[in-house]
Structures are given as C-alpha cells and as structure tokens.
C-alpha cells in the first residue's frame, strides 16, 4: 500500500509539471489554433535561466537567504521567458497571421524557433549537463509511507497555486473574459471591442512564464539540466493538452495529472522502458477515439 501511494506521489509530481507546461500549449491553441512547438524549448530556457540566477546569487549558500533567492530564481526566468514568448508572437506569429499564411507555416516556424532556442542554449550553456546548486534543505516528511522531499513539496505547491491563479484569472477578470471570448470566436470578440492581438500576446506571455517556472522547478527537483530536456517533456505536455481537450484550460491540468500518473504506474507495473511509449499510446488513442479529449475541445463549442 505505501508503495502504491509512493508511486502516486511520483506520478503526481511529474503530472503537475506536464499540466503547467501543457497549459501553454492549450491557451495558445485555444485562440489561434497553433500548436506552438517552441513551447518545450521555452521551458528548457527557463530551467537554464533559473540555474544562472541561482549561481549569480551565490549558489548553494546565497547571501540574501534561501527563500528570497528561490523567489528571484522563479520570477526572473518567468519575466524573461514571458518576454521571449512576446517576441515569438510579435516577431513571427503575428506577422504570419497578418499575411493570412497557410496554417502549416506557423507550425514550421514554431519548429524553427524551437531549434533556434535549443541550439542557442547549447552554445551559451554548453552541451554537458549543468548541475543546479543544492540550495534546498535536505528535508523530507513521510506521508502514509510515501517520502516527500522539500523539492517535491515546493514543486507541487507552486504548480497548484499557479493552476488555481490561472483558473481564477481566466474565470473572474475582464482580461480573462476577453481571453475566453477570443477563444470562442475571435471575430465576434473583435466586434465587441476585444483587442484580439493583445489577448494573443497575453496568452503567449502567460504560457511562456508558466513554462519557465516549470523549468526552474524541474531543475530544482532533478538537480541537473541540459539543452535537450525540453523536447520530450514538451511532447508529453502537448499530449496532456490533447488528452484534456486541446484549448481547454482545466482540461490541460487534468490531462497532465492523468499522463503523469499513468506513466508512473505503467513504468512501475509494466516496465520502465515503456514509460514514453505509454504517454504516446494515450496521445494516439485520444486522437483516434475521442479527438475532443476528456473535457471537450473548445472548438466543439463553436460549431
């Protein structure tokens, strides 16, 4: 029993990361029907930025204290990656939209941006693994036989706070309502005075900032980063978005948690090398059997 619960905690941790990264895919897709494949690379850049900031603040023993330097290492990468997201939209996707380009073209541009970010990170930070400073206390507690350590706790709490805040933001604020409106029907939203381009920019900024925070959390949790870390994780987060119903914000959260749990239980009770296969079997099954995902795709509402 306690092993089962430990596996549940393992899966939940992975799932929370998939959910946060998956949100970026789903929010962008919800409005402009673009699968932004550069999103995984933004996550990776965030992880590296967090590392660099922690090192600048003094590594494992920062002068300003652990809590303050952790906060800076989460916020600054979020701001910088939010900027990268904004740049992606204004420099590339918005221009392609203005040209009314074929939907395939932004997709290829996304792959290009992804490669550019990966190669850039490799040139800046090197090909080898980079190790995060051991800043977190080596503290853990045992819950129903499952060990939860400090990195895991911070990761889970941060992810759930971010998910909740995003949900409240989208449901209860004017901007959130504008986002939902743009997602339902961009043209109608424009008619009632929503600046759709600003809303799209905002989704890129929010999605990229969330991905950056997820990157830093992964760096803290696993302790090392490399320039390829965003690729597979991005694909799985995308799977999470599809599973939940692409374009559906609560769907991505649910999808992420489900993928994380299924993958972990699959690895534990089938075999470890099936882990990646399980995630993608889910992807294909959902696409074939229930293309609208668990909670339904936004596109269905529009029809």
């Amino acid at each position: 029993m306690n092993l089962l619960f430990q596996q549940f905690v393992n899966g939940l941790t992975m799932g929370a990361i998939y959910a946060i990264v998956g949100l970026g895919y789903t929010m962008v897709y919800g409005i402009i029907r673009l699968i932004n494949f550069a999103h995984g690379a933004v996550f990776m850049v965030g992880a590296y930025l967090g590392l660099t900031i922690l090192e600048l603040l003094g590594g494992a023993t920062p002068a300003i204290g652990i809590a303050a330097s952790l906060l800076i290492a989460l916020v600054v990468p979020a701001v910088i990656c939010g900027g990268i997201g904004a740049a992606m939209d204004t420099l590339v996707y918005r221009r392609l939209r203005a040209m009314r380009a074929h939907p395939l073209i932004p997709l290829i541009a996304a792959l290009g941006i992804s490669l550019m970010l990966e190669t850039g990170a490799m040139l800046i930070w090197g090909k080898e693994f980079k190790v995060y400073p051991a800043i977190l206390p080596t503290w853990h507690f045992t819950l129903a036989g499952a060990v939860v350590n400090s990195a895991q706790l911070i990761l889970l709490m941060t992810c759930f706070v971010m998910m909740l805040s995003l949900h409240l933001f989208v449901q209860n604020t004017r901007l959130g309502r504008a986002m939902r409106a743009a997602s339902l029907d961009p043209n109608a939203a424009r008619l009632v005075g929503v600046n759709v381009n600003s809303i799209i920019l905002l989704t890129f900024v929010i999605g990229s900032a969330l991905a950056a925070v997820a990157g830093v959390l992964v760096g803290l949790y696993y302790g090392s980063v490399n320039f390829r870390m965003g690729y597979l994780l991005g694909l799985k987060a995308f799977t999470a978005a599809v599973l939940g119903g692409v374009g559906n914000i609560p769907g991505a959260m649910l999808g992420g948690l489900v993928i994380g749990l299924l993958e972990t239980f699959g690895a534990a009770y089938i075999s470890g090398e099936w882990k990646d296969a399980i995630a993608f079997i889910i992807l294909i099954t959902v696409i074939v059997v229930r293309p609208t995902g668990l909670l339904g795709e936004r596109i269905a509402e529009r029809a």
Binding site: L3, Q6, Q7, N10, G11, T13, M14, E128, F129, V131, A134, T138, H140, V147, N149, A151, Q152, V218, Y222, G223, S224, N226, R228, M229, L232, E263, T264, F265, A267, A268, S271, G272, E273, K275, D276
Partner: protein
C-alpha cells in the same frame, strides 16, 4: 621495403584520413625491421586515449630495441589513425597488409576492430587487441587473436563478485537501459551473482535520456534490495542515485566504469557518496607496472592514464611469441600463445597473460573505486 610518406597517402585516398608514419628505429640496424601495425584514434573525440595507447606501444618498442630487438631484428611501429571509424580502420588494415606489417597491436574502438579483423584474417596477421572490448571481437572466431584487456561482460561478473563476496550482500537489484553493452553487463552480473548464492530481487529497465526514475526507485524500495547494479551511462546513473536518496532508499550503488565520469559525481551530488565503480585500473595501481610508470613519465613527461599499459603489453606479447618460436611465423606464434597456461603465463605489467580458446583473458584485474567526499577513490583490486 618502401613505406610511403603521409603525403602520398593523402593523394591515394583523396582525404588525409590515413596517416601512416614510421618511427625511426631506435638505432641503425642492418637487419630488416619487424613491422607491427598500430591503429587507434589519434585524432577526434577519443584521441586522448589513442595517444596514450600509442605512447605505451612506443615505450615497449623503444625498450625492445634497446635490448637488441627481436630475433636480432629491430621492431618498428606502423601507425594508423582510425579515428574509431570502421571505414578508416579497414583502409588502414589494408595498408598494413600491403606494406609488409606482420602483426597488429591495435584498436581502441570495437567498430574499428571488427572492420579490420576480416582483413587481418585474410592476410594471416597475428592480432593483439589492447583496447576494443566488445564480445563480438572474440566472437569472430579468429584463432590468431589475443586480447590484453577485459572483454564483454567481465565488468559485470567482477561487480557481482564485489557485491556478493566482498560486501556480503545477498539481495540485489539490477537495472539496464536495453543498449547492447549495458544488457550484456547486467545479464552477466545477474548470472554470476546467482552462482555466488545471491538473490536477484528486481531486474528493471529504464530509457536512455529519461530524467525521472522515481517509479523504478519505488520498486527498488519495495524489493528490499541491499545493492543496485546500474550499467547506465553517467547521466542516468547520477539521476538514479539522486532519486534513490530522495526517496530515502539506502541501497549500495555499483557501476562499471560509467561512474568514473566526473559528471556522475556532479549530477548525483551528495547522493553519490559510497557508490562503487568497477573499472580497469590506472597504471599506477598495477603492482607490476612500477617500472613502466617511471619509464613512461621519463619518456613522455606525464603520468600514464588508463590504457597505455595494455598497448605496452600487446607489443611485448607479439615480441615474446616470435622470440619463443624462433622465427616470425604467425601460425607457430599463435599456437605457442594458445599453449600458455596459468603457470606458464607471460608476466605482463597488467597481470598474467594467457588466453582462453577464444582469445580472451580468463582473469582480468579490475580496480574498485568508491565515491568519497566528491571524488572516486581507489579501494582495492
């Protein structure tokens, strides 16, 4: 005999990939030299090891010639830079044969060795492999092949000895990443550990490039294993160690030489403490290599690393065989080498040298290292 200069090779092959050069004989000699082909990666990613092995071979040749050569003839090396590339290796092997090379002391990479073996076999060369370790090499069945380094699964067998006999652990877990060499190590570890009376409580698999092994770690926790043998590369081995300690699992980690990589210690951090690594010894840990270490230091101005002693022994194996049969006759020399036993073994600096029928060493002396205070420290053989 005419050995062309490197520039002519460049013309022959279009690319200057093959650089055969001859060392001048240690002193002028009337007799025709015995040519030994030395093919290794002298440039490229593995060049460091290739150059170290070349130095070991050069030292052996210099010492032989200082003693008057073999059968009154000087020994000369024909060098080839195979860059670990099978294509380059095959071209070099053909050049060896064309230029009158009678024996080869060659290869750091198994791919390069496997490409050269058919050519060596057709020409009847005596072949001593000092660095390529794939089990496919003895698997070629060439009866003039002798290996001076460990082969195939031997590190896995030795690691099982350490776990069961030295550390007295009886409940063991194994993990591999399904790559061929990795599986070979893991299977040999399991087989030998069972022979020694231990129980394999868990055999798992993970994927190369994955970062999250928590599901497997929880299985280790549930299996009650006292030790985990991981033949994964340093990145996965490092993360695995870290996640074991994160879940408060206290198994002893045992790896082959993958954990000797400094990146293993960096990635695992404090969780690496106490991990064992089974590796081929450094030259200065070999009891019979004291003179070699001093001579190497004097000749090249630096300490020998891991591979030089094996190429040094390879040259001496060839020389000893020709001297014993009294002529440069590969059939007789191979027969004589096959006839060696534990009692009549050649005294190599890396240990006693005699061979099983497939050309592998019956026993190989590994070194055991343990991570202490952020370093891999030598424990014992």
């Amino acid at each position: 005999m005419h050995i062309p200069a490197p520039a002519q090779y460049a013309r022959y092959f279009g690319l200057a990939l093959v650089a055969l050069a001859l060392l001048p004989a240690a002193r002028p000699h009337a007799a025709e030299p015995i040519l030994i082909g030395f093919s290794a990666p002298l440039t490229g990613d593995a060049a460091g090891s290739g150059q170290e092995s070349l130095n070991g071979a050069k030292l052996a040749v210099a010492e032989l010639n200082a003693r008057g050569g073999v059968l009154g003839r000087p020994v000369q090396l024909a060098e080839g830079d195979d860059r670990c590339d099978p294509k380059d290796s095959a071209i070099i092997a053909q050049k060896f044969v064309a230029s009158g090379v009678v024996a080869a002391a060659s290869h750091y990479c198994s791919g390069a060795a496997l490409a050269a073996i058919p050519i060596f076999r057709d020409a009847g060369l005596l072949y001593v492999d000092w660095g390529a370790v794939s089990s496919k090499i003895p698997g070629t069945g060439y009866d003039r092949l002798f290996i001076t380094i460990y082969n195939g699964a031997q590190p896995g067998i030795y690691a099982a000895d350490i776990a069961v006999t030295k550390l007295g652990l009886k409940k063991l877990a194994v993990v591999d990443d399904r790559t061929p060499a990795d599986v070979e190590f893991a299977n040999a570890f399991q087989k030998h550990a069972k022979e020694l009376g231990a129980e394999i409580v868990l055999a798992g698999h993970v994927t190369q490039g994955d970062k999250d092994f928590n599901a497997f770690v929880t299985q280790v926790k549930g299996s009650g294993a006292q030790a985990l043998f991981t033949s994964n590369y340093y990145a996965e081995a490092g993360l695995l160690n870290r996640q074991l300690r994160d879940q408060q699992v206290t198994t002893v980690t045992i790896c082959p030489d993958t954990c000797m990589d400094p990146q293993f210690l960096a990635i695992a951090g404090a969780a690496a403490e106490g991990a064992y690594s089974v590796s081929q010894p450094q030259a200065d840990e070999l009891p019979a290599a004291k003179d070699f270490v001093a001579a190497y230091q004097k000749m090249f101005g630096k300490a020998p690393g891991y591979i030089g002693p094996y190429s040094y022994d390879a040259i001496n194996v060839i020389a000893a065989a020709y001297a014993a049969v009294g002529k440069v006759d590969n059939e007789a020399a191979a027969k004589w080498l096959h006839g060696l036993t534990k009692d009549t073994a050649l005294k190599g600096i890396t240990g006693p040298l005699y061979w099983k029928a497939d050309g592998t060493l019956p026993q190989f002396t590994f070194s055991v290292y343990q991570a202490k205070g952020g370093h891999m420290q030598f424990v014992s053989h």
